[in-house]
């Protein structure tokens, strides 16, 4: 299986590479369009700020490539947020895959949310064998609200999307690569879709 982690200069991708390695698979980092298009699974990572990450995607032309991929694609953290219509962080348009606008958490809670929270209302094969109320690790100041594409819910001041899915596109707000055995299983489920 050919697994490509999109390398566009945004974030800690080493951890994702290692997590995949621990599952017995190998992933390559690439910004090459043909390589991404020919992969069996594509992982779209991202940490940092939304508008500057979108600028990097536009500069490399990847903003046109990613929404047209046909194989399973998994956006992680900022990667998931960039797959939405719009982000309030830097007021930037996203890739428009998920029909949601990403907004900032209210000041009634500490921002960023850092740590382990629960996921529930699990809906997709991504969560095969994962029990309701499992804990996953998140670090984020902005969130995607609940919507039709929500496949996992979580709560911090309010309910938000912990994971999204539309057709072959998946996104997790949490970091499966850092979410202990639960995260490893979710990553394995994705690779075995």
């Amino acid at each position: 299986m050919k697994i490509v982690i999109i390398n566009y200069g945004a974030g800690n991708i080493q951890s994702i590479k290692f997590a995949i390695q621990r599952l017995g698979y190998e992933a390559i980092l690439s910004d090459n369009v043909a390589e991404i298009q020919n992969a069996d699974k594509v992982i779209f990572p991202g940490v940092g700020e939304a508008s500057s990450a979108m600028t990097k995607l536009r500069t490399s032309g990847l903003d046109k490539i990613i929404p047209n991929l046909n194989q399973p694609v998994l956006g992680i953290c900022l990667g998931m947020q960039l797959m939405c219509n719009f982000s309030e962080e830097g007021n930037t348009d996203g890739l428009g895959i998920f029909d949601l606008d990403v907004v900032k958490f209210p000041k009634s809670v500490k921002v960023p949310q850092i740590g382990w929270n629960e996921i529930g209302e699990l809906k997709s094969d991504l969560f095969k064998t994962i029990p309701e109320k499992s804990h996953i690790y998140l670090v984020h100041s902005y969130y995607a609200p609940l919507g039709d594409e929500t496949i996992a819910e979580s709560e911090y001041a309010l309910g938000y999307s912990a994971a999204l899915q539309k057709d072959n596109f998946y996104g997790t707000q949490f970091h499966p690569e850092k979410s202990s055995d639960v995260g490893a299983q979710i990553l394995k489920n994705f690779l075995e879709l």
Binding site: N12, Q14, S15, F18, A19, Q21, R22, V47, G48, E49, K107, K110, V111, P112, Q113, I114, G115, W116, N117, E118, H135, Y137, V139, H140, S141, E155, Y156, H175, E177, K178, S179, S180, D181, G183, A184
Partner: protein, 251 residues
């Protein structure tokens, strides 16, 4: 519900753990990677590695350590100690660190916080603050608490937040090593003044101290070193007790 985090801290010198570690089942008590894996299995929510080496090779040794930890450990970890530039942070994050913590370098040049935040994002920048009370006022101290400054803890915490730090790791030098509990009054005040997560450090000696720092100190996470290393408290037992007290934890 977001859970309260338990964070063991490992002191590192030349790529090895320094504080005496009392793990009978450990093949090599000085191997930080093996120790990190054990803590992850026992239910630690996060790990902190604090590098205290002072050699020429320290940057390279630390980067290698980070790489090997990231390779094996599936929970987040923070690296601190002697970090003073954008380049330092870049190397550590590229090798797989999730967060870095800066301390003295931020006090000496607060703009460093802004520079790191704009390049890497708030989520991975932790500012560690060491403080103790001088004539009843909390003052920031440098070099592991040895050098006093005139800077007020609470003023500095507010500035750190304004400059974009994602989290504060507050160590009370008055409590550190005493095993008499965390600095809960100061911690609670910090939590009302700033709206970023606060990690409590210094003073852990009993399970009840953790309950107190989460309830009275309003801390979001609690860090400790020797009580975990010497197995005075097992993380699993600690979390079970916290749960009984009604504190949200990940079991």
């Amino acid at each position: 519900m977001l859970t309260k985090r338990i964070i063991p801290c490992l002191d590192i010198k030349n790529g090895r753990t320094v504080k005496g570690i009392n793990f009978v089942d450990l093949r090599d008590a000085g191997d930080p990677v093996e120790l990190a894996e054990i803590y992850a299995q026992e239910g630690a929510d996060e790990l902190v590695f604090l590098d205290i080496s002072a050699t020429e090779e320290r940057r390279k040794t630390l980067a290698e350590l980070v790489y090997h930890v990231a390779e094996k450990v599936n929970i987040p970890f923070t690296v601190g100690g002697g970090i003073s530039s954008v380049e330092d942070v870049d190397v550590l994050l590229q090798n797989g660190a999730d967060k870095v913590s800066i301390n003295s370098s931020a006090v000496k040049r607060p703009e460093l916080i802004n520079e790191l935040v704009s390049k890497f994002g708030s989520q991975c920048i932790v500012v560690a603050i060491d403080a103790k009370q001088v004539d009843g006022n909390w003052k920031v101290h440098l070099v592991g608490g040895k050098v006093p400054t005139e800077i007020d803890l609470f003023e500095w915490a507010k500035e750190v937040e304004e400059r974009g730090a994602g989290e504060i790791l507050f160590t009370s030098m008055d409590h550190d090593g005493t095993k008499n509990g965390f600095a809960n009054k100061a911690l609670a005040k910090l939590s009302t003044l700033v709206n970023i997560p606060i990690i409590a450090s210094g003073g852990a000696g009993a399970i009840s101290h953790f309950t107190d720092t989460f309830v009275d100190g309003k801390a979001d996470a609690a860090l400790a070193a020797s009580i975990f290393h010497f197995k005075e408290i097992e993380i699993k037992d600690l979390k079970q007790e916290l749960k009984k007290e009604g504190i949200p934890v990940r079991l």
